[in-house]
């Protein structure tokens, strides 16, 4: 199984580095968010150190965006027929999914580190230091698992890539804005608060915000616990849809 996952992941890594423009833009994207949201909005909002406050939101934006596109290769393999070729090989079905997660967690972790580095000259230093950075990486890994699972499930269930893009385009921005990414839950309008509380993204951002601005407190494990449960549930949905698509048990 290791050999299979490594081989499948190798394909993604080679393609990533051959698509240089794509790579360049995905690395630059969060820098734009950081300057735009954090720099631009900080004057309009009454939160001290808004950049530090918004940083977890920018990280979440990036991780969600990347993880949604993480399903695209599966979507295209399904449509070009290459998925059938893979399924005619003696590989574990789970390897196909696992290779997406391995690749995407690696990719998102690298990107999070880039964002944290960009934030340094803007004066943001995580309060929890290096262990905190590891905590942030664990959080984003869980978030990656959650969103990638949901996107993979959708890629399997969608009849065509058009449907996939229509639904992800429809859902992504509300998912981001109906969270505490740029506004604390307490200062939200009353109707929005329960939505934000039901949004797994809120817990990822909560954990990261504590790690960046305050420290390891009771809030971090609680937020990570909720996020972990949500990721597990979405992973279940992803595996189920994939098994349905391929007509196999995913061992």
């Amino acid at each position: 199984m290791t050999q299979e996952v490594l081989a499948l992941t190798r394909r993604w890594v080679i393609i990533l580095f051959r698509e240089r423009l794509n790579l360049l833009f995905s690395v630059l994207q969060p820098a734009v968010w950081l300057v735009f949201f954090a720099g631009g909005l900080s004057g309009a909002v009454v939160i001290d150190d808004y950049i530090a406050f918004a940083l977890p939101g920018v990280i979440a934006f990036t991780v969600v965006g990347n993880s949604v596109t993480a399903a695209m290769p599966l979507l295209f393999d399904k449509e070009t027929g290459y998925l059938d070729k893979l399924l005619s090989m003696p590989i574990r079905r789970g390897s196909i999914l696992l290779s997406r997660f391995v690749f995407q967690v690696g990719m998102n972790s690298a990107q999070v580190i880039v964002i944290l580095l960009i934030a340094l000259p803007l004066g943001v230093r995580p309060a929890t230091g290096v262990p905190g950075v590891i905590g942030i990486l664990v959080t984003t890994a869980l978030l990656t698992l959650a969103i990638t699972s949901a996107a993979l499930a959708l890629a399997c269930a969608a009849p065509s890539h058009g449907t996939f893009f229509a639904i992800t385009g429809f859902a992504t921005l509300p998912l981001l804005f109906m969270s505490n990414a740029f506004v604390p839950v307490d200062s939200m309008p009353a109707w929005m608060e329960p939505i934000a509380r039901a949004n797994p993204l809120t817990y990822a951002i909560e954990a990261m915000r504590l790690l960046v601005m305050e420290g390891w407190g009771g809030g971090v494990p609680v937020a990570l616990g909720v996020l972990g449960v949500a990721s597990g549930a979405l992973l279940g949905v992803g595996v189920w849809q994939f098994a349905r698509q391929t007509g196999q048990r995913v061992a």
């Binding site: 299979e4 081989a7 393999d77 070009t80 027929g81 070729k85 005619s88 007509g247």
Partner: protein
């Protein structure tokens, strides 16, 4: 027997795509599966390649039941699909694709590079091995597919229209390779000259049912005609369905 099917059938809703098909392939034999568009060739192949469950009947591939032991079937076959757009690996080189698929077929790690180079050489792609698949011509892409079907030395090679859209040179090239392999081959094709030159035996199907079977010579003799085209038209009718 390498392949043995028994009343193999598949329906899609009301439509019967494959209807009680029984045929066999002996070791080393090249068997052609012929039939008009929609006759059920690809559906049959997809069942044998464990991609599609059969609705009725059974089949054994290299001694393994397609339903009970699909993984053993997958280990014994090389499958070259009728249409797989190379878009998904455009940005890989031929060599990288072959190496990745060799790993997926569980070729031992230290043999992967060697084996990939071997199969690329076999189809005459050594010179282009480090070129992106994007830059390959249609014929080179087909030859790459063929090479990748051979990575794990399968006992059965399943080829679904392996020379579709190739020029005369490339087709002869591909036939040459297939003939020298010595493995059992199930070849679905719409080219009668291909079937005539390459196949030891043919099974002609129409509407999912066997309408004729025998060696190319036998089939022509039985009807007293000179070409396989005539055999084909006599058995499957002249109307376009």
């Amino acid at each position: 027997m390498i392949v043995e099917t028994e009343a193999l059938g598949r329906t899609f809703g009301e439509r019967t795509a494959v209807d009680a098909l029984t045929f066999h392939i002996a070791p080393g034999e090249i068997v052609g599966l012929l039939g008009p568009n929609g006759a059920g060739k690809t559906t049959t192949i997809r069942m044998l390649a464990t991609l599609l469950p059969a609705s009725s009947g059974t089949a054994r591939v290299c001694g393994h039941d397609i339903r009970d032991d699909p993984d053993a079937v997958r280990r014994s076959i090389g499958y070259v699909m009728q249409q797989v757009s190379p878009m998904g690996y455009y940005l890989l080189t031929g060599r990288e694709k072959a190496e990745i698929e060799a790993s997926l077929y569980h070729v031992p790690r230290r043999r992967v590079k060697e084996r990939a180079a071997e199969v690329l050489d076999l189809v005459g792609l050594t010179e282009h091995a480090d070129q992106l698949v994007q830059e390959y011509s249609g014929g080179m892409q087909k030859r790459l597919e063929l090479a990748c079907g051979l990575l794990h030395r399968p006992e059965l090679l399943i080829l679904d229209e392996p020379t579709l859209g190739l020029d005369v040179q490339s087709r002869h090239h591909v036939w040459e390779h297939i003939r020298t392999l010595g493995v059992a081959v199930l070849l679905a094709t719409n080219y009668m000259d291909e079937a005539d030159r390459l196949c030891d035996r043919l099974t002609i199907i129409d509407h999912g049912r066997t309408v004729a079977t025998g060696t190319p010579a036998e089939l022509k003799e039985a009807l007293g005609v000179l070409t396989l085209d005539d055999v084909f038209l006599a058995h499957t009718g002249r109307e376009v369905s």
